[in-house]
């Protein structure tokens, strides 16, 4: 039985963070701060508006207001507030999305299909091999249709869990074989649709080692709710060992 004080403590903590899950990425805390700022502001505004409504209903009748100040002053204040939030948000968005990943970032391909996520690492040649949809055959161990005629593909590693090193930037190239899926990692504050016919890059740096959920967040069929995978973030040396083992397995 967990002591009551600890239960109360975790409850208070989850209230303070509005139930947000653990934040395990480097860009996440800034996003969380901005999100929480937004939530507290709108909570305040909602309370204020309801207070004005209630007081106005309860107070004694008075002649109707004709002054335009009651309209334009609050409106100007709200405009400034929303502009402030927009600028703050756009700066965070620009930092996350306007530029691509650093050239030294770890390259991983993310592929969605009904109803699984696959992850591909380019292997020792740092180059992804060509894939062809007609070669896709999950039963034969080639779920992404890597073309054996292309040498670059021979050392590619395909996994069903995403394993990443902590504190290194990752460049994800996301696409889909069939329909639109939503690649989402709540604990990394990441979401990007996987769209067939497109390759979309997002980049981020996982910080805290651990196991996190990867979900599908775009309805894609009857198995949508169970289309998920684990993201395992490892300390750098453990990741290196994992990658070496995988590379050996591919080369054999």
């Amino acid at each position: 039985m967990i002591p009551f004080s600890i239960q109360l403590g975790t409850f208070a903590l989850s209230l303070a963070t509005w139930g947000l899950p653990f934040d395990a990425s480097t860009h996440g805390p800034a996003v969380d701060r901005h999100l929480l700022l937004n939530l507290w502001i709108i909570l305040g505004l909602a309370a204020l508006a309801h207070l004005i409504l209630l007081v106005g209903l309860i107070a004694r009748r008075r002649a109707e207001a004709t002054s335009w100040h009651v309209e334009y002053l609050p409106l100007a204040a709200l405009a400034i507030l929303f502009a402030f939030l927009t600028i703050r948000a756009e700066r965070l968005w620009a930092a996350a999305r306007y530029t691509g990943a650093d050239l030294s970032a770890l390259q991983v391909q993310v592929v969605g299909e009904q109803f699984a996520w696959y992850f591909r690492y380019p292997g020792t040649d740092y180059t992804f091999g060509v894939t062809k949809p007609q070669l896709v055959d999950a039963g034969a161990g080639n779920p992404l249709g890597i073309d054996p005629a292309d040498n670059h593909g021979a050392d590619d590693i395909v996994t069903s869990e995403l394993v990443l090193p902590a504190n290194r930037e990752v460049d994800l190239r996301i696409n889909s074989l069939d329909v639109i899926h939503g690649f989402s990692v709540p604990e990394m504050r990441l979401k990007q649709n996987a769209v067939p016919g497109m390759t979309i890059h997002i980049h981020f740096t996982p910080k805290v080692p651990g196991t996190y959920a990867i979900l599908c967040t775009q309805v894609c069929g009857m198995g949508h709710y169970r289309m998920n995978a684990n993201l395992r973030v490892l300390p750098a040396e453990k990741f290196a060992a994992w990658l070496t083992a995988k590379q050996k397995a591919v080369q054999r």
């Binding site: 937004n38 609050p74 756009e90 999305r97 069939d178 989402s184 504050r189 769209v195 990867i214 979900l215």
Partner: protein, 587 residues
């Protein structure tokens, strides 16, 4: 409607009421259709809520809810509520019933087109509902029907014939909606009575006008998109399907010269989809302004500003569809631009709220049920609206997109506020339709249970969304991996939400009871029972006024909602009176 009694009995009244071209009859027909739809839509949502927290529940006459059943429930619930309730009831239902009278007209501009529009809408509903019974069942791709999922029959059960029927239903609805919108626009532009200048038009009419403008623009684009999707499904085109798309082991559009893009559908769909939510809510916003003013005996604060903001919301409403696509593969710079246009709409929306707050400020209003629901509308509009700017910021939407936070947002602002507008309209205009009041005691009980139920259902959804619960998940229990842990964490709150939803739905029985009871037993209403100032309460337009003799000239002398308070006595100044009449309190 007081028609002269005609001999010939059943067949005559059958013709008169079923295939009527009278705008009031058509308005009632739309409202009945919406009432049927909202009942079905609510029952579907209850099945969803129950399945989410008690997945082993066996539905009588059906069996367990399979994942594809759940998605069909989501799809039909969303489609039915948005199109056949939130668009149909305010715009077509009350639009037909009240709009002509409010501008001093005796009919809609095109009565036959009006009847055709209704029967097309009814056909669309029938097609949608009967898709349940075709092989594979109803479509399962949600009301947004993103391709390639919606373009390829083998992408899931329901994506075959069920999807075709969904397309047919929405296409017919779009045609009906466009006809209805043109009818509304022409009526407002051409049939206003003498003295009804643009700045004297009630804000409800401005709501219908703006919504109709949006309908013409939005539905025509939707219709084009539906046609393209149909061609992708059956004519071998690939507007939305990229080359080499591999669905269920089959390669589609192989060797096709065209390389389609699913994003094209998203652009077309949301170009329709965002204005659609304003089509649903604008008439309610107009009505709220009018009712708050009338029951507060106050002018609408900043009337011209309210007209302007209505039009501005409509105009901005067609410029911000991209906020549905921040994480869909949109250029990140475009996301920034759409974020700004979306944030901009917060300004006219805030101006509306300020006007409502100022209008009722220290007014000691009369708390009729219609007034309560209007105040509820204001509350829900504030609570649901404030999360809009949060979702408009791409970096925050990246986390919140397609979570229950979004579900909470649009259910409060569009569904609940929209429904509150409809309830206010029903309680307010019931005497006009039937000559009787609805029961105020039952009405008050209905209001309080409904607003408590609405908040209890939709406020906690913000939290499960923040916890990371995605939309469209058929199950939260028994999901493998770390995801299962994340989803299971939302279960206690989700159980609470389900109980609240059951409470909210049950409370609506009060409304049905009130409706039926009052239709036969309701207190007889005098002419203009709310002491209103707008033309639909003109004595010549009263339901008990003989139809044939009611062709006296109607002239408008002033803006709506003008009242004079002299010492101890109130004077209401209806739009049709050159002089004021004393406010005779009904009690």
């Amino acid at each position: 409607m007081a028609h002269r009694k005609t001999k010939g009995g059943a067949t005559v009244s059958f013709r008169r009421y079923l295939f009527s071209t009278n705008h009031r009859v058509i308005g009632v027909q739309y409202l009945v259709l919406a009432l049927v739809s909202v009942t079905i839509g609510t029952l579907l949502s209850l099945l969803m809520r129950i399945h989410l927290v008690w997945p082993d529940y066996i539905v009588p006459f059906h069996g367990p809810i399979l994942p594809e059943d759940y998605l069909a429930l989501v799809t039909i619930h969303g489609t039915i509520m948005l199109f056949f309730v939130l668009t149909t009831a305010p715009q077509s239902g009350f639009g037909n019933l009240i709009l002509p009278s409010q501008i001093g007209a005796r009919r809609m501009a095109f009565p036959v087109a009006n009847a055709i529009s209704f029967w097309l809408t009814a056909t669309a509903l029938l097609i949608l509902l009967s898709s349940t019974f075709v092989p594979g069942g109803s479509a399962i791709s949600g009301w947004t029907a993103y391709p390639p999922f919606s373009a390829i029959a083998s992408a899931g059960p329901g994506q075959g014939f069920g999807m075709d029927m969904w397309l047919a239903s929405i296409a017919v609805f779009a045609i009906a909606g466009t006809i209805g919108a043109i009818n509304t626009l022409v009526t407002i532009i051409k049939l206003r009575c003498e003295g009804m200048t643009w700045d004297r038009i009630p804000l409800t009419v401005w709501g219908w006008f703006t919504a109709a403008l949006l309908s013409v623009i939005a539905f025509s684009v939707l219709l084009a998109a539906l046609l393209l999707l149909f061609c992708d499904r059956h004519a071998g085109t690939s507007f939305f399907v990229p080359t080499g798309d591999l669905v269920n082991g089959v390669i589609h559009a192989a060797g096709h010269p065209g390389n389609g893009s699913p994003l094209l559908w998203l652009h077309l769909f949301w170009f329709f989809g965002h204005p659609e939510v304003y089509i649903a809510i604008l008439p309610g916003m107009g009505l709220t302004s009018m009712l708050l003013a009338n029951f507060s005996r106050r002018r609408v604060f900043a009337y011209r500003m309210m007209i302007f903001t209505t039009l501005l919301i409509g105009f901005l409403g067609i410029l911000l569809w991209g906020h549905h696509m921040f994480v869909a593969g949109l250029n990140p710079y475009a996301a920034s631009a759409f974020a700004v246009s979306t944030m901009a709409i917060a300004i006219p929306a805030s101006a509306k709220v300020l006007s409502w707050l100022v209008t009722v400020w220290r007014s000691r209003p009369r708390y009729t049920t219609a007034m309560l629901f209007s105040l509820g509308f204001v509350s829900l509009f504030i609570t649901g609206g404030l999360t809009g700017p949060v979702l408009a910021q791409p970096i925050l939407d990246e986390y919140l997109h397609n979570t229950f936070f979004v579900v909470a947002h649009f259910h409060l602002i569009m569904a609940m506020a929209g429904i509150f507008g409809l309830f206010a309209a029903t309680y307010y205009w019931f005497p006009l339709m039937s000559g009787r009041f609805m029961s105020e005691r039952l009405g008050r009980l209905h209001f309080w249970t409904t607003i408590v139920g609405a908040y209890a259902t939709f406020l906690p959804m913000h939290l499960t969304g923040l916890m990371g619960e995605p939309r469209h998940y058929a199950q939260l229990i028994g999901v493998p991996n770390a995801a299962g842990h994340l989803l299971a964490g939302t279960l206690p709150l989700n159980r609470f939400i389900t109980w609240s939803a059951i409470f909210l739905a049950t409370a609506q029985l009060l409304f049905f009871a009130n409706l039926i009871h009052s239709l036969y037993r309701g207190k007889i209403a005098p002419p203009n029972p709310w002491q209103a100032t707008t033309l639909e309460w003109h004595p010549a337009l009263h339901p008990n006024a003989p139809f044939e003799t009611s062709d006296g000239r109607i002239v408008v002398y002033r803006q709506p909602c003008e009242y004079l308070a002299t010492a101890g006595e109130e004077l209401i100044l209806p739009q049709w009176r050159s002089d004021g009449i004393p406010n005779i309190k009904p009690e």
